[in-house]
C-alpha cells in the first residue's frame, strides 16, 4: 500500500475518532478516578446537603430514566415536561445524561433549569468522557449522596451512587455500608440508583462491575434489605430478582432508541411498585 494511502487512512481514522462521542483514551486511562470523584462529592454534600423531600400523602411517585445521551434532546425535553406536569416528587437520572462534551452539558443544564422539581443525577461512563466530570461537578455537584422522601407516616431512603467508571471504589463502598447501617433501619423502603447495571442476565457488550464487587453488593443489599436497585447502561429493559432485592435496568431514553422510556416507582404503605413506560 502506498505511503500516501496509508496517511490518508490514518487521517480518516483520526477524523472519525475525533468526531464521535466516544473518548477512546478511556481504554488506557481515566482523567478522573472514582476515589477522587467520591472525595469531591462528599465535600460538596457537606456544603450543599440534599434537601429532604416531604410529601403530604402516604403514597407518592418517583420517576427514573437513564441514558439520555443529550446532544439530541427530543425525548429528554418530553420527559422533563412530563415530570414537571406530573405528581411525581423526584426524577432520578441514572447516568449517561450527556457524552461528556462541555457543549452537551450546557444544553442539558439549560433544560434542567426549567424544571421546578428535584432532579437527582448520577454519572454514567459517557458523562465522564472528555474530562466530563469537571462539567458535571460544576453544573450539578455531587454524584454520591442519599436523601429521604418523608411521608406523614414514614420515610424512604434513596441512595445515589457514582459507578460511572465500572466500580464504586474502596471509599464509596465503605460509605455505602455506613449509610445503610445508620439509616436503613429507620426507613420503610430503600432504593439505590446508579448507572452501570450490577447484574448481567443477558449477553451484552456493556461492562458491569467485577464479579467480586457484584457479589459484595448482592450480599450488602440482602443484609440491609434494599428493595430496588435502578440502573441503566445496557439500554434494554431488564428485571432480575435475588433475595428481596429487585435489580432493574432501564430502557435508554436517547432519541435514537426505538423503545425509549422511563420508570415510574410508586411507593405506598403496602408495597413498592414499579412500572415501565415507553414513549410511543
Amino acid at each position: 500500500m502506498g505511503n500516501k494511502l496509508k496517511i490518508l487512512i490514518a487521517l480518516l481514522v483520526c477524523a472519525v475518532i475525533y468526531s464521535c462521542d466516544v473518548d477512546f483514551s478511556g481504554f488506557i486511562r481515566s482523567t478522573d478516578r472514582v476515589e477522587d470523584r467520591f472525595v469531591q462529592s462528599i465535600e460538596y454534600n457537606e456544603s450543599n446537603p440534599k434537601e429532604q423531600i416531604i410529601v403530604n400523602s402516604s403514597e407518592y411517585e418517583v420517576l427514573a430514566a437513564s441514558d439520555l445521551h443529550v446532544g439530541p434532546t427530543v425525548n429528554t425535553e418530553k420527559l422533563l415536561n412530563l415530570y414537571d406536569a406530573s405528581d411525581a416528587v423526584a426524577l432520578i437520572l441514572a447516568g449517561d445524561i450527556v457524552s461528556g462534551r462541555r457543549e452537551h452539558y450546557e444544553i442539558f443544564k439549560e433544560l434542567a433549569e426549567e424544571v421546578t422539581k428535584p432532579l437527582l443525577m448520577v454519572t454514567g461512563n459517557h458523562d465522564l468522557y472528555f474530562d466530563g466530570w469537571k462539567s458535571f461537578y460544576e453544573f450539578f455537584g455531587s454524584s454520591t449522596y442519599y436523601f429521604n422522601v418523608t411521608t406523614p407516616d414514614t420515610s424512604d431512603l434513596y441512595i445515589c451512587l457514582d459507578i460511572g467508571g465500572g466500580t464504586l471504589g474502596k471509599s464509596q463502598l465503605a460509605w455505602l455500608e455506613e449509610v445503610l447501617e445508620q439509616n436503613r433501619e429507620n426507613c420503610r423502603y430503600c432504593i439505590v440508583a446508579c448507572h452501570v447495571n450490577i447484574l448481567r442476565t443477558r449477553r451484552t457488550s456493556s461492562a458491569n462491575p467485577l464479579v467480586e464487587e457484584v457479589a459484595c453488593l448482592i450480599d450488602l443489599f440482602a443484609k440491609y434489605n434494599v428493595n430496588l436497585v435502578i440502573t441503566g447502561h445496557d439500554h434494554v429493559q431488564d428485571v432480575a430478582k435475588i433475595g428481596n432485592t429487585t435489580f432493574i435496568i432501564l430502557d435508554a431514553l436517547e432519541d435514537s432508541y426505538s423503545d425509549a422510556g422511563y420508570l415510574k416507582v410508586i411507593s405506598n404503605p403496602d408495597t413498592l411498585k414499579y412500572e415501565f413506560i415507553r414513549f410511543d
Partner: protein, 230 residues
C-alpha cells in the same frame, strides 16, 4: 492434522501456595493460603484446589474451593486439553458464588490458549431464609460467559526459568465477565526434574475497560510450589 491419544502413566501432583489480594472488597487486603492436589492417570486428570482466608476469618474462613476433571490428547503434536470445572467461592456467611463451565486449552510452542464458557450462579446459603427472611429467589444465574486466556512464555518450554504474560478473564478461583479482562505476569523456576517448580503469579484488575472508562480495581499475587510426585 493428526490427533493422538498418548501416555500410560499415573502421577500425583500438588501445588502449595499463598496469596495476597488488594481491592475495594477485601479491605485493606486479603491474605490466603491454599493447596491443590491432583492426580493424572493416562489422559485423565482430576484436580482440587482449596484457598483459606487467613486475615478475614470473621467474614469467611474458606476463600474458595475448586475442582476440575480434564482429558488431554495431542493435536498436531501439541497438547489439547478439555476441562470441566466447578468453583465455589463464599462471599460471606450468607452468599456463595458457584461457577461451572467447560474450557479447552491448547499449547503451541510458547503460546498457551484457553477458550471456554461458564455460568456464574449467586446463591444464598440455607440459613439465610431464617435470618433475612429470604424465602424465594435464593439464587440467580447470570448469562453464559466466555472464558479466554492468551498466555505467552518468554523462553521455550523446559527452560530452567520462564516468564509469561497473559490476558485472561479467569484464574483458579474467579471467572470475571468476558468484558472484564485481567492482566497477568508470572515467573516460574525449576532447577531440574528432581526439583519442584517455584512460581510467582501476579494479576492486575481493572474495572470499566469495556465502558471505555478504565479505573483501577485491584491486584493479587500468589507464590507457591508445584510438585509432581512420581
Amino acid at each position: 492434522m493428526s490427533l493422538t491419544v498418548h501416555s500410560v502413566y499415573a502421577q500425583f501432583k500438588i501445588d502449595v501456595f499463598s496469596g495476597i489480594a488488594v481491592n475495594p472488597i477485601d479491605r485493606p487486603c486479603m491474605i490466603s493460603a491454599g493447596f491443590s492436589p491432583g492426580y493424572v492417570y493416562k489422559n485423565f486428570a482430576i484436580d482440587y484446589a482449596l484457598d483459606i482466608n487467613l486475615n478475614h476469618r470473621d467474614k469467611k474462613v474458606l476463600n474458595a474451593f475448586a475442582t476440575s476433571l480434564s482429558y488431554k490428547l495431542n493435536l498436531c503434536s501439541n497438547p489439547l486439553k478439555f476441562s470441566l470445572f466447578y468453583c465455589n467461592k463464599p462471599v460471606s456467611q450468607m452468599l456463595n458464588i458457584h461457577n461451572t463451565g467447560l474450557k479447552i486449552n491448547y499449547i503451541v510452542k510458547r503460546w498457551d490458549f484457553t477458550l471456554g464458557n461458564n455460568f456464574n450462579i449467586y446463591k444464598f446459603t440455607n440459613n439465610v431464609a431464617e435470618t433475612y427472611n429470604i424465602a424465594d429467589n435464593r439464587y440467580l444465574v447470570e448469562s453464559p460467559n466466555i472464558m479466554y486466556s492468551v498466555k505467552y512464555f518468554i523462553m521455550q518450554p523446559g527452560n530452567v526459568w520462564n516468564l509469561y504474560i497473559n490476558i485472561s478473564n479467569f484464574e483458579i478461583f474467579i471467572v470475571e465477565q468476558e468484558i472484564n479482562p485481567m492482566f497477568n505476569v508470572g515467573f516460574i523456576w525449576k532447577k531440574n526434574s528432581n526439583w519442584p517448580q517455584f512460581f510467582i503469579d501476579h494479576w492486575y484488575q481493572t474495572a470499566g475497560l469495556n465502558n471505555i472508562r478504565v479505573n483501577y480495581f485491584g491486584w493479587f499475587t500468589r507464590i507457591g510450589v508445584h510438585w509432581e510426585i512420581n
